[in-house]
């Protein structure tokens, strides 16, 4: 086993930078920030945090896709590299969202937690070992629980944090149980060696139990139905930047981790995706989760009046498509899955960015709070239009091509009669349902006149404006030139 610590230190530079940056943000605030106003402390922390993220991004690009290292317990292939870059960009967008959001107490700790969560995300991207994967996932999750409950002035935030924590902790228990069964059955923790052992023997009842445990945990983390119950409450109550991070970067890192766990680790148990009716293996379970998420997410979103809850149900619906992407992550390559996850993350983070600015200007909970947005701020209305239309999958925006490529690949690999093929047809049909609730949002923003209570023009902070414009530009550019992302793989 090649356990070169020098290589390990070099390959994990981004994580080292992120952790150091988090400590630096707190230390700087402790030493210099005590007597300053909250807004100044927040801006300083955000600046330091952004610099840290940029440093980590550069470091991860410089490290490059070096393959397996530290005894193959870590791996940085093109997928891991892209995910590392992706979560860092999404975390940067989250900081931009925070710059336009309500100023909370302890801003430095907030930024530091975002950095710690990002460290967890980048480690999740590179983990190739059950325990490392678990530790990385928990680092990210624990940071996210605190971030969700960070607004100490609002009870809803505490509620969101608690719900997210309790359900997340239960998911963790399932995951750990599943891992322990896998370890007990194979005697291995590193994914390549688990795969090697599994190649010798087939499915056993205990292994099936382990799979179910892992996939239940996966369902919780991905907010897939029927394990989605925490998502609407967490989205509704959490501080807006936290919700943006939960919805974007954590999705990207989580799906990358599980795609790696399921394919290189448990690929032997995948089953045959082109088998009509019952592919066997974990693809069956993933397909069930996907179908439930598509149906529940899209149909429940129709009934929402709260914008954040609507975004949560839309996230559940999108998780259904992402699960289809997991099924094809090896047969078709990880390109479609990553493209979908990243562009979805940018669009969602952007939408939360708009919500964050609105919260400082009269509040934004109900969809009707958006009324008259195009007159109050053409910038916010225009950016929201791009994000929502991308989520709805309207070309030429990135959301369209993300859906298109996943659907095309799923059908190509599974054929029309396979469960995934039928799910794809279901997803296409439900996209027409989805357009309805997305248009309801845009109708408020672009068509309805403003109410007297919310009619003043909105001043968008410069950093928030830059964030929103960057996110919108990313959506348009990646939508017009998907090869920029697909070419990475």
């Amino acid at each position: 086993m090649n356990t070169s610590y020098a290589l390990l230190a070099r390959a994990l530079q981004p994580e080292i930078i992120l952790a150091d940056g988090a400590v630096l943000v707190i230390a700087y605030d402790l030493i210099f920030g005590r007597r300053r106003p909250l807004a100044t402390r927040l801006n300083t922390s955000l600046l330091l945090g952004a610099l840290t993220l940029v440093g980590a991004l550069i470091a991860s690009v410089l490290v490059g896709a070096i393959g397996g290292f530290y005894g193959d317990n870590f791996v940085i292939d093109s997928f891991a590299l892209a995910t590392r870059g992706g979560v860092i960009v999404l975390a940067l967008l989250t900081l931009g969202v925070a710059s336009g959001a309500k100023v909370m107490r302890n801003p430095a700790e907030y930024v530091a937690l975002i950095l710690f969560a990002t460290t967890g995300f980048t480690l999740m991207a590179a983990a190739n070992h059950l325990l490392i994967a678990f530790a990385a996932l928990e680092l990210a999750s624990l940071s996210l629980y605190v971030l969700a409950g960070f607004d100490k002035d609002r009870r809803e935030s505490a509620e969101a944090g608690l719900k997210y924590f309790l359900l997340g902790a239960m998911a963790t228990a399932f995951l750990l149980f599943g891992f322990s069964l896998i370890y007990g059955l194979t005697g291995e923790l590193a994914l390549p060696r688990i795969a090697a052992v599994l190649a010798l023997g087939g499915m056993s009842p205990l292994l099936a139990l382990a799979l179910v445990m892992v996939l239940v945990a996966f369902g919780f983390k991905a907010a897939a139905a029927p394990f989605h119950l925490w998502a609407p409450d967490a989205y509704e109550g959490a501080p807006t930047p936290s919700a943006a991070l939960i919805a974007s970067a954590s999705k990207l890192a989580g799906f990358t981790l599980f795609a790696r766990l399921l394919w290189p680790g448990l690929g032997e148990l995948a089953g045959d995706p082109s088998q009509p009716f019952n592919p066997g293996g974990w693809i069956t379970i993933v397909a069930l989760l996907s179908g439930a998420s598509l149906l529940l997410g899209n149909l429940a979103a129709l009934a929402q009046t709260n914008l954040r809850r609507l975004l949560a149900y839309s996230a559940i619906a999108h998780a259904g498509v992402m699960l289809l992407g997991v099924v094809i992550a090896v047969p078709a390559g990880p390109g479609p899955l990553f493209y979908y996850l990243f562009t979805y993350g940018v669009a969602t983070a952007g939408a939360f960015g708009v919500i964050a600015v609105l919260e400082n200007n009269g509040g934004c909970q109900k969809i009707t709070d958006l009324a008259g947005l195009s007159r109050r701020s053409p910038l916010l209305a225009g950016a929201l239009t791009i994000f929502i239309l991308s989520l709805a999958g309207i070309p030429p925006l990135a959301g369209f091509f993300g859906k298109f490529t996943i659907f095309a690949m799923t059908l190509r690999i599974g054929g029309i009669a396979s469960p995934t093929g039928i799910l794809t047809l279901l997803a296409i049909a439900l996209s027409a349902v989805a357009l309805y609730y997305y248009l309801i949002v845009l109708k408020q923003a672009l068509v309805e006149p403003s109410t007297p209570a919310r009619s003043t023009r909105i001043r968008v902070p410069v950093t928030a404006a830059i964030t929103l414009l960057t996110a919108a530009a990313l959506i348009v550019v990646l939508g017009l030139c998907p090869s920029l992302v697909l070419g990475l793989f």
């Binding site: 390109g335 195009s374 239309l389 309207i394 070309p395 030429p396 369209f400 091509f401 298109f404 490529t405 659907f407 095309a408 059908l411 190509r412 599974g414 054929g415 029309i416 093929g421 794809t424 047809l425 296409i428 049909a429 996209s431 027409a432 357009l435 309805y436 248009l439 845009l442 109708k443 672009l446 068509v447 998907p482 090869s483 697909l486 070419g487």
Partner: protein, 504 residues
């Protein structure tokens, strides 16, 4: 010809410029919009003058776009697309002229308007199914906002219904296209590749996929019983948008049927031919009869649109060269005439009298108050009825001749539709413009004229009306101008296959 792609780019750039100009003043936005529409139309006309009819699909641009999926940005044109491009330019220009009175959020209006136009140009130029689909969907969202923001009666309902119908239709199309792609025998989304892939499907598969794609497109073409979005959408839309919706957007659906569904799956066409033809005739008769009893002037025109689009679908379903050529000619003709009718009803009459109820219009001596509108509407009505000398006549005649060869019964029923069209058009003319032409009107008229001092018809309205009238007369007197483009295009290798299914 090589300039044709600029119709797309000009429209999208114009949309952005109109948005920017609208922040300064409404007049600037109008000027930008008119300039954009005219220059894009100019490009199309310039290409049309240099066009030598041939059976070849002329490739204009073909560059790799998404190499990972083998998708090329492939634009091409033949006589059929050129016909519709010229129509789009005409309808867009006239639509801008008839939207001259939009005062509220003018820049945004024209931005959505030109984005819609850009999508339409793109659809007519696409030679790759993916590119086709992208432009097709780009055209959906602007429609929603044009209607929901600037529309009239029940606008939010009409707008949402229209957007959802179009999008559900395009979802069917997407499912069908991906189904073909999933066979693995199509290396990309080029129409020729997809045709190869489709040929490997089982017979049942071909029939199913044809049903998906054809229905998806036919929703937008207003096929009975999926036409219900059209009257409500047209009525709710602002004049310029209803001119575009009826004039061009409904053609997107018919064009999709002709360009994508029928050549890809000739076996499916053969199977569904009687059903489509039956539904088309049902649409002609049903919508015509419904138009006969409408109280709302604009609904009469909305249903007449559905009835006339029934002829297009009937021509396509008959699937012989005469009928299909007639269908394309009817697309052009209906685009012009429907634009004219909506312009008179929505802009010239409604914006001045603020009512579209026929029994209220009946009380006004409109033929005296708005003589210009009356004359235009009478001529447009004659054209819509299919009077010789106007474009509707050669188009419907060619279709009927072709349909007669396919099925005499359907031909007779469709011809009955022409009579119904005459009936509802004459009724609309009589009630709306000449309702007070009777003897008792004489005493009434002076007061009415004083009570309703209607503003005179403005120059943009006159220009737009003249352009459209000239087009319908020109094609009515010399249909060969377009038929010479259309007929050779039907002989291209990709299009020829559709005739194997139908009766020759």
């Amino acid at each position: 010809m090589n300039l044709l792609p600029y119709t797309i780019y000009l429209s999208f750039v114009g949309a952005l410029l109109a948005l920017v100009a609208g922040m300064k003043s409404a007049a600037a936005a109008r000027a930008v919009a008119l300039l954009t529409a005219v220059s894009a139309w100019g490009v199309a006309l310039y290409a049309a003058f240099g066009f030598t009819p041939s059976s070849e699909l002329l490739t204009l641009v073909n560059v790799p776009w998404i190499p990972q999926l083998g998708i090329n940005y492939h634009l091409a044109a033949d006589g059929i697309s050129l016909t519709l491009l010229v129509l789009t330019g005409l309808a867009a220009t006239c639509g801008v002229l008839f939207s001259w009175n939009i005062e509220e959020r003018t820049g945004e209006f024209f931005a959505f308007y030109l984005a819609l136009i850009g999508g339409v140009y793109g659809v007519f130029l696409s030679a790759d199914a993916f590119v086709f689909f992208v432009f097709y969907e780009i055209a959906i969202v602007p429609k929603y906002f044009l209607i929901a923001n600037w529309g009239s009666t029940n606008r939010q309902y009409g707008a949402m219904k229209l957007a959802l119908y179009s999008f559900a239709g395009s979802a069917l199309v997407l499912a069908g296209l991906l189904w073909i792609y999933s066979t693995g025998y199509a290396s990309n989304f080029g129409l020729d590749q997809l045709a190869q892939g489709a040929a490997t499907l089982s017979h049942t598969g071909q029939i199913t996929v044809f049903a998906l794609i054809f229905t998806g497109f036919a929703v937008l073409a207003g096929m009975f019983p999926f036409h219900t979005w059209a009257p409500t959408g047209h009525v709710a839309a602002p004049t310029g948008a209803s001119m575009l919706l009826a004039g061009v957007v409904m053609k997107l659906g018919a064009y999709g049927c002709l360009r994508v569904a029928m050549p890809l799956l000739p076996a499916g066409l053969e199977f569904w031919q009687p059903v489509i033809a039956g539904l088309a005739v049902a649409g002609i008769l049903y919508a015509g009869l419904v138009a006969l009893v409408q109280d709302d002037f604009k609904f009469v025109i909305g249903y007449s649109s559905v009835s006339h689009m029934g002829f297009v679908l009937l021509g396509l379903a008959a699937a012989n060269p005469s009928a299909v050529a007639g269908a394309v000619l009817q697309m052009f003709s209906h685009g012009v005439i429907a634009g004219l009718l909506f312009a008179v009803v929505g802009r010239m009459v409604y914006e001045r009298t603020h009512t579209r109820q026929l029994d209220e219009l009946k009380k006004l001596p409109l033929h005296r108050l708005l003589p210009f509108a009356a004359v235009v509407f009478v001529i447009a009505g004659l054209a819509s009825m299919g009077m010789p000398g106007f474009s509707g006549f050669p188009a419907e005649l060619t279709i009927l001749v072709g349909v007669w060869n396919y099925s005499a019964t359907l031909g007779v029923l469709a011809a009955l539709g022409v009579f119904i069209a005459a009936a509802f058009t004459l009724r609309a003319i009589q009630v709306s413009f000449f309702g007070q032409a009777g003897a008792d009107a004489a005493a009434h008229t002076p007061d009415a004229a004083h009570d309703h001092p209607l503003s005179p018809i403005t120059w943009p309205e006159k220009t737009g009306a003249f352009l459209l009238l000239a087009a319908t007369l020109l094609i009515g007197l010399k249909p060969d101008l377009l038929l010479n483009w259309i007929v050779p295009s039907l002989q291209s290798p990709l299009m020829k296959v559709i005739f194997h299914g139908g009766a020759r």
